[in-house]
């Protein structure tokens, strides 16, 4: 999230698209309702289902699953056509005035540069670049009139998305859609704040990244980024999914969003730093971040002479190793050992049955969890013969959140401390204890020899606490926070990091979280001070928000180039004529680090988006050097149909995203609308959490929500002769699941290009274990993914439904 939950109360208009906070983030919903009650916030809800969130909406806009790009580009087109965009913001803080290569084209659903490599469709992004003058500076036209400037390119591109066309694609009634356009575009003024809230409804598509881009373009055009009450707010599903992402539990990253070294691009440290360090933007500090991380990991062994032990890190092979790719390799027998550590892929991953079968190919599986999950019990799942499954399974019992201590990061990037209430029961142990002991056990084995033992034998691993069984959390946290190598003193922030090896820091964005607050006498993450001077809900001394305790990122954009706040009532920072007045931590150079002198606003007005090398928001996602590559599937979002769709693409003859990732095997079987006429979508429920691994072992929650069900519209139910509570079966090209029919008017057929389309909705919390077993919705989902993130297309598939 660019902003944070409490900030929702500062919005004039909230548009929830692809999220259902009343169900899945109830406390976030509270802040939307607070805004409604206190300042008359208007709420737009865009969803295929009339959700609990929609029940509070001022405008509810039904939408066909998978058509968010058309929906959002239509609003962008409306804003441009009616001059409702925030002109001064767009000219100064976005790349609207930048000139694009005149050879950039978009025709018949494809961008210029379409080609093939190794038999695969790819884009060559050469034409997706800016024009440069002879000094290498990007050419601009601040009048926004040049036909090749981003503004005009965008305008032409979205002009095809007029209201009529959009509604034919999305199935949204035209009058409702027009109201959405009018209301949301009313936030394109200096004194108005519009907030877009999304979740998996936006990301879980074969063009999910482009969905997010569409959100970003709209927010930039309306001047809604960097201001209180605005932002792009991706609500995250788990208590620490933000933190686990920050800590890079992802193949392609190291902690703090540093790229994992890749043999095809980074054979040496020098190559890495050259390829990963842009000349401008905050990422120009990459050498400090990486070298400090190597110092944290390899200590005194890491020296400038040996590339700070860079070669001890494993390197990727230029290929993808995401969830779906991992299970594909596992099915092919290439993966022998597997840790399912606090995750339950037998229920939570797409194409659940092939996932379970793939685990039969393993030599060994280690499950670390609280309860016997479906993954732990895959070898005795219904239909499997344990005697034929050779996989060895180790189950390590773990502690629950309040049976240990540590920090978690919420969606608003607040890193909050959880104190320990009780010991874990029996032999259960904290995950910190488990990984500490497991590492030591492996190290013990390598003391006797083995292949390339250096990183194992030399990894800094010194977390023992005298007199305690548990590793010392302070030592781990200090390493993450960063310290001076000579003195061991904690670093107050990442500004102090060096590229010489004099500082060690495990995760640069967390620098400062374990630094003692001088007034409160506790480390920042443990702070519980409720001071809120502005009344905006920033709570600067409650826990610590990464980066640098900043509550609203890109906050330079909350004032005009001369430093005057666009809206004084929502000021986050402003220039009073001689100095910056700051209520939030400035996201720009406000003071010279060396001299402490104030830096006048004209300077930071040049690059208010300090994380991108252009320094401004990207309406056009250009190909622009290190850490600023274009998305693989284009510099602008274009509507394509989901891989399984009941209709042909009205926008172009290109039916699907040409780069959509389709995996192999039965999990990737593709259904046709003739056989599977209804749209299938998945969703969650307030009573359950994810795969139900914990909540289906909770008597209260299983009593509240005991059984798998299938949502169908009253119309479809009548057509199929299904009554509420009947047992029904949902079939897709991948398999079938059973559940009880839930027949409620919250689902209604949509009129798509004159044709009625039904939506079937499945909650996905069930599996064959727990107090309340049930079929897993993921048995019928598919191995189709976004080409940039490899997130599966869970939200728009095709199915058939029958009475069982």
């Amino acid at each position: 999230m660019t902003n944070h939950f409490i900030d929702y109360k500062n919005s004039d208009v909230v548009m929830v698209i692809g999220a259902n906070p009343a169900e899945n983030h109830p406390q976030a919903m509270k802040w939307i309702l607070r805004g409604k009650a206190e300042r008359g916030t208007k709420l737009i809800v865009v969803d295929p289902r009339f959700t609990k969130t929609a029940a509070h909406a001022d405008i509810y806009a039904p939408i066909r699953p998978g058509t968010d790009i058309a929906f959002l580009l239509g609003i962008i087109n409306y804003a441009l056509e009616h001059n409702l965009y925030f002109h001064d913001y767009v000219v100064n803080y976005t790349n609207a005035s930048f000139l694009v290569d005149p050879n950039f084209k978009f025709e018949d659903g494809l961008f210029s540069g379409a080609t093939t490599k190794d038999g695969q469709f790819v884009y060559d992004p050469t034409t997706w670049q800016y024009q440069k003058d002879k000094d290498g500076k990007i050419k601009r036209d601040p009048t926004l009139q040049d036909p090749n400037c981003v503004f005009q390119v965008l305008k032409r591109f979205v002009s095809r998305y007029d209201i009529k066309t959009v509604c034919r694609v999305t199935g949204t009634p035209e009058d409702v859609y027009r109201q959405v356009c009018e209301l949301y575009c009313s936030t394109g003024r200096p004194d108005k704040a519009g907030n877009i809230v999304y979740a998996m409804g936006i990301t879980q598509h074969t063009y999910g990244s482009q969905n997010v881009r569409a959100v970003a373009i709209l927010q930039l055009l309306l001047g809604n980024i960097g201001i209180a009450g605005g932002g792009i707010n991706a609500q995250r599903g788990e208590s620490n999914v933000q933190g686990s992402t920050d800590m890079a539990m992802l193949y392609h990253l190291l902690p703090g969003y540093l790229s994992c070294p890749d043999a095809t691009r980074h054979p040496t440290l020098k190559d890495y730093l050259e390829k990963e360090t842009p000349k401008t933007s905050f990422w120009s500090n990459t050498p400090k971040f990486l070298i400090s991380q190597l110092k944290a990991w390899f200590g005194a062994k890491a020296t400038p002479e040996n590339e700070f032990c860079y070669q001890w890190l494993p390197k990727l092979d230029g290929k993808e190793h995401s969830h779906m790719a991992i299970f594909q390799s596992m099915a092919e027998g290439k993966i022998k050992g597997f840790f399912a550590w606090g995750q339950n892929p037998a229920v939570g991953g797409p194409a659940a049955e092939p996932t379970r079968k793939a685990m039969e190919k393993l030599d060994w599986l280690v499950v670390v969890d609280l309860f016997e999950t479906e993954t732990a019990a895959f070898w005795r799942r219904p239909g499997a013969d344990p005697r034929k499954i050779k996989t060895e399974v180790f189950f390590l019992p773990a502690a629950f959140s309040y049976e240990k201590e540590g920090t978690v990061s919420n969606s608003g990037r607040w890193i909050q401390y959880r104190w320990k209430a009780v010991d874990p029961p029996g032999d259960a142990k904290s995950d910190l204890w488990i990984v500490d002991r497991l590492f030591k056990a492996v190290r013990e084995e390598y003391r006797k020899g083995g292949r390339f033992p250096e990183p194992i034998l030399n990894m800094v691993w010194d977390y023992d606490a005298p007199g305690s069984e548990e590793p010392d959390i302070n030592k781990v946290a200090l390493e993450i926070n960063g310290y001076e190598v000579d003195t061991g003193k904690p670093l107050p922030g990442f500004a102090k990091l060096t590229n010489t090896g004099s500082t060690a820091c495990g995760c640069w964005i967390y620098a400062g979280y374990w630094y003692p607050d001088p007034d409160l006498g506790v480390v920042a993450a443990k702070r519980r001070d409720r001071t809120d001077k502005t009344g905006l809900g920033l709570y600067p001394k409650w826990s610590f928000a990464w980066p640098a305790n900043r509550r609203i990122v890109y906050n330079r954009c909350s004032c005009d180039p001369s430093g005057r706040p666009w809206d004084p009532a929502r000021a986050l920072v402003y220039w009073d004529g001689s100095k910056w007045v700051t209520f939030d931590v400035p996201d720009f150079g406000a003071k010279d680090l060396a001299t402490g002198a104030e830096i006048p606003p004209e300077k930071s007005a040049q690059n208010p988006f300090i994380m991108v090398p252009e320094g401004v928001g990207r309406l056009f996602g250009a190909q622009y050097g290190p850490r600023a590559a274009a998305l693989k599937d284009g510099p602008l979002p274009e509507h394509y149909e989901p891989i399984e769709s009941p209709v042909r693409n009205l926008m172009s003859k290109q039916q699907n995203n040409p780069l959509a990732k389709i995996y192999q095997g039965e999990g990737a079987a593709r259904g046709k609308p003739e056989k599977y006429p209804y749209i299938l979508t998945t969703h969650r429920l307030v009573e359950h959490y994810q795969s139900g691994a914990v909540t289906r072992n909770s008597p209260w929650l299983t009593e509240l929500m005991p059984e798998m069900f299938v949502g169908i519209s009253p119309r479809l139910a009548a057509k199929l002769g299904i009554k509420p509570g009947d047992r029904v079966v949902v079939l897709t090209a991948r398999g079938k699941v059973y559940g009880r029919a839930s027949v409620l008017p919250t689902l209604q057929p949509l009129k798509v290009d004159g044709k009625e389309v039904e939506v079937v909705a499945l909650p996905w919390h069930w599996g064959y274990q727990g107090m309340a077993p049930g079929d897993s919705a993921n048995v019928v989902t598919a191995l189709f993914g976004d080409p940039n993130t490899f997130i599966p297309e869970y939200k728009a598939l095709l199915c058939d439904v029958r009475k069982a």
Binding site: A263, L316, G337, A421, D427, V442, R451, I473, R528
Partner: protein, 202 residues
């Protein structure tokens, strides 16, 4: 009438009939830890209060965990927490179930579904066996070493140093703490693991 503070009010209001009957089964004894704020609720007077954050969705609600004799007896929203201001959703309020539940005799006991022993299933076996940690850690370490050493690649086909194994994979976890994830990440990279993923992509 005495003015009731907002915090006290939430404490009264937060405990409906269901919660009170539930607390009726709380065990006896144990040291007195109460900070005095729960004076109105005799059954919680003996309980230790611990500040925590909800384990479920990404809102980050603050909660107070009440425990006695090393068992959780009740969980409620932290009234001082700026995000949830004392309230919680049904999932959050049921957090105590992961540690203890109320059984059919109306007694509070450890959730019997919790796994409290290390378990092992041998190849082709039809059941779990209970094991101890020392055995399991050593055996797993041996498996890791055997798999890693059999599949380790020092260099790729172009001669670039890669120091990796592709035969080990890891998933998880958005349910763990930052410090835990950080150490697991270090652990995996020290082995040369590149197949790493978790909930963030699902």
């Amino acid at each position: 009438m005495r003015k009731i503070s907002r915090r006290e009010f939430i404490k009264y209001a937060g405990l409906g009939v269901a919660a009170l009957s539930l607390l009726g089964s709380v065990g006896r004894g144990g040291p007195v830890f109460s900070q005095g704020t729960v004076g109105a609720l005799p059954k919680l007077r003996r309980a230790k209060e611990t500040r925590s954050i909800c384990a479920y969705c990404g809102c980050g609600c603050g909660l107070i965990v009440y425990s006695e004799d090393n068992r959780v007896v009740y969980v409620e929203g932290d009234p001082d927490h700026p995000i949830n201001e004392g309230s919680m959703c049904p999932k959050g309020i049921a957090l105590s179930d992961a540690n203890t539940i109320v059984n059919w005799q109306h007694r509070r006991q450890l959730n019997p579904r919790r796994i409290t022993k290390v378990l092992y299933r041998a190849p082709g076996s039809t059941c779990w066996e209970e094991k101890d940690w020392d055995w399991a850690l050593k055996e797993i370490a041996k498996r890791i070493k055997a798999t890693r050493d059999a599949t380790f690649e020092e260099k790729d086909e172009k001669g670039v140093t890669v120091n990796r194994t592709q035969a080990i994979a890891h998933l998880g976890s958005a349910s763990l703490d930052n410090e835990e994830n950080y150490l697991i990440h270090k652990f995996l990279r020290s082995l040369g693991v590149i197949n790493i993923d978790h909930h963030a992509r699902l």
